[in-house]
Symmetry: none
Subunit: 220 residues, 2 copies
DNA sequence: TGCCGGATGACAGGTTCCCGACAGCTTCGG
DNA sequence: CCGAAGCTGTCGGGAACCTGTCATCCGGCA
C-alpha cells in the first residue's frame, strides 16, 4: 500500500510517516504543494494524507485538480479545528475523511485502516486463497492454520498480488508499489521477492505464475 | 488495444506512435481531419489521441460528430498551452482528458494507461471467438477454458488479428504493427508467427486463413 | 511440370528469469 | 555499546524460453 503524506510541518510529517510505516505501508512525504501536485500527476497512491494549510498553496486546489484528472486514491484531510468550512469544502471536492488537529496517531491509524478497507473493496477483511488466509485489516497472514510472519517487502508483494489476483502484475508495477522515492527497486530485486515468497507458499501448494515479459500472476 | 492517433505533425505523430507501440498497442496514424472523420465512422478504437489544431479542419468538430454518432472510445486531446478555450470546449464535447503541448512522452503514456484503465472498468474487455477468449486488459488468453500462455509476439499478432477479425490483414501491416522502431520484421518472420499461432489454436479448431498474395484472415 | 508464395523444422543467438551466495543494513536484546 | 539475527538488495551463473534466419518442403496455379 502506497501512501503520500503532504505536510509542511516536518515533525508532524515524521510522526505520521513512522506511524504508517509501522503499519507496513510504503510512505512518501512531501512538504509543499507544488511538489505534491507534480507527484500526483505522475505516480499512483492508495491513500493521500493532506494538510490543507500549506504555505503558499491551497490544499483544496490540489485535491480538486487531482480528482479532475481522474485520481482515485482515498484522501484524508488534516485541518485545524477552527476551519470547519474547509472541511465541508474538502468533502465536496472529493476528500473521503478528515481529521482535526491536533489528533492522536492512534486515531490516524484507525482512519487510515478504515479508508483502505473501504477502497480495496474487500468485502470481508479476510481473503482465502487455497490454504492461505490474508487478513487485510489485522495485516496478518496464515498458511494452513499456522500464522506466517512475512518480512515487510514480501508482505507488501503478497498484498499486491492478492488485491490483483487473477491478473498479471508487471514487475514495474510491483517495483512502483513497493518503492518510496528515495529508493528504487531493481527488476532483479522484484524477482528475488517473488522467489522468496514462492518458497514460503510452496508448502501450501500455492504458486505464483510467471508470465514471461509481462509479469507475475497469482491465481484466484 | 487499438489506438488512433490524429496528428498532422509527422515527427510528433511518429514519436507518439512508437511510444504507444512500445506499450503493446496497435496504433494507426492519420494526418488530416477528413481522413480521421472517415475512419472513425468505419472502424472501432479503444482510444483516440487527437490534436485539435489540424490544418483546414477543426478537431472539435470531429470529436463532436464522433460522440453524436455514438462513439464510445476514450479521447485524449492534444492542444497548445494557450488555447484554454479549446480545452474547456473539448471536455464539454466529450473528451476524457487533455494534454498541453509540449509534453513528455512519459506523461502521455501515463495518461493513456489511466484512460484505458478507466474505460475497462465500464466495459467487459473480453472478446470471444469460438472457444477462444481474449482479454486485452488483463493480457490473458484462454482456449477451451484453459489459460493459454502466449509469447509476446504471438500475443500481439493475435490481438491484431482479433481486432480486425473478418478482415484480411496484410503481411506488411502485421510486420508494421509488431515492429519496434529498432528492428524491422521480415515477411518470413510473419509467416513463422502465423505458423506458431496456428499450431496453438488448432486444438480449439480455430483457423487463420491464408489469402494468397494479400495476407491473413481470422474468421469472426 | 515449373514457378512462386507460403509453411515449417532446426538451430543459433538473445533475452528473461531463477536462485544461491554474499554483504550492507536494521533491529533488538543484553 | 556490542553482537546476533533477520531483512534487503546486488551479483552472476545457469536454465528456460523467445525470436528470427536458413533451408527445405508443400501446394496452388499457369
Amino acid at each position: 500500500m502506497r501512501i503520500l503524506v503532504v505536510e509542511d510541518n516536518a515533525a508532524l510529517a515524521d510522526g505520521i510517516s513512522s506511524a504508517l510505516t509501522r503499519m507496513e505501508m510504503a510512505v512518501d512525504v512531501v512538504g509543499d504543494g507544488t511538489e505534491a501536485d507534480v507527484i500526483l500527476r505522475t505516480q499512483e497512491f492508495n491513500l493521500i494524507v493532506m494538510d490543507l494549510n500549506l504555505p503558499g498553496y491551497d490544499g483544496l486546489d490540489i485535491l480538486k485538480r487531482y480528482r479532475q484528472n481522474g485520481g482515485k486514491a482515498q484522501v484524508l484531510i488534516l485541518t485545524a479545528r477552527d476551519t470547519l468550512n474547509d472541511r465541508v469544502k474538502g468533502l465536496d471536492l472529493g476528500a473521503d475523511d478528515y481529521l482535526t488537529k491536533p489528533f492522536d496517531l492512534v486515531e490516524l491509524e484507525a482512519r487510515v485502516r478504515a479508508l483502505l478497507r473501504r477502497q480495496s473493496g474487500f468485502k470481508s477483511p479476510e481473503i482465502a486463497i487455497g490454504a492461505l488466509i490474508f487478513d487485510s485489516v489485522a495485516r496478518r497472514v496464515s498458511l494452513m492454520g499456522e500464522p506466517l510472519d512475512l518480512p515487510r517487502r514480501e508482505f507488501c508483494l503478497l498484498e499486491l498480488l492478492i488485491s490483483r489476483a487473477g491478473q498479471v502484475v508487471s514487475k514495474e508495477q510491483i517495483a512502483d508499489s513497493l518503492a518510496n522515492f528515495d529508493q528504487d527497486i531493481s527488476p532483479n530485486a522484484v524477482e528475488l521477492y517473488i522467489s522468496r515468497l514462492r518458497k514460503r507458499l510452496a508448502a501450501a501448494n500455492i504458486s505464483i505464475k510467471t508470465v514471461r515479459g509481462l509479469g507475475y500472476l497469482l491465481e484466484k
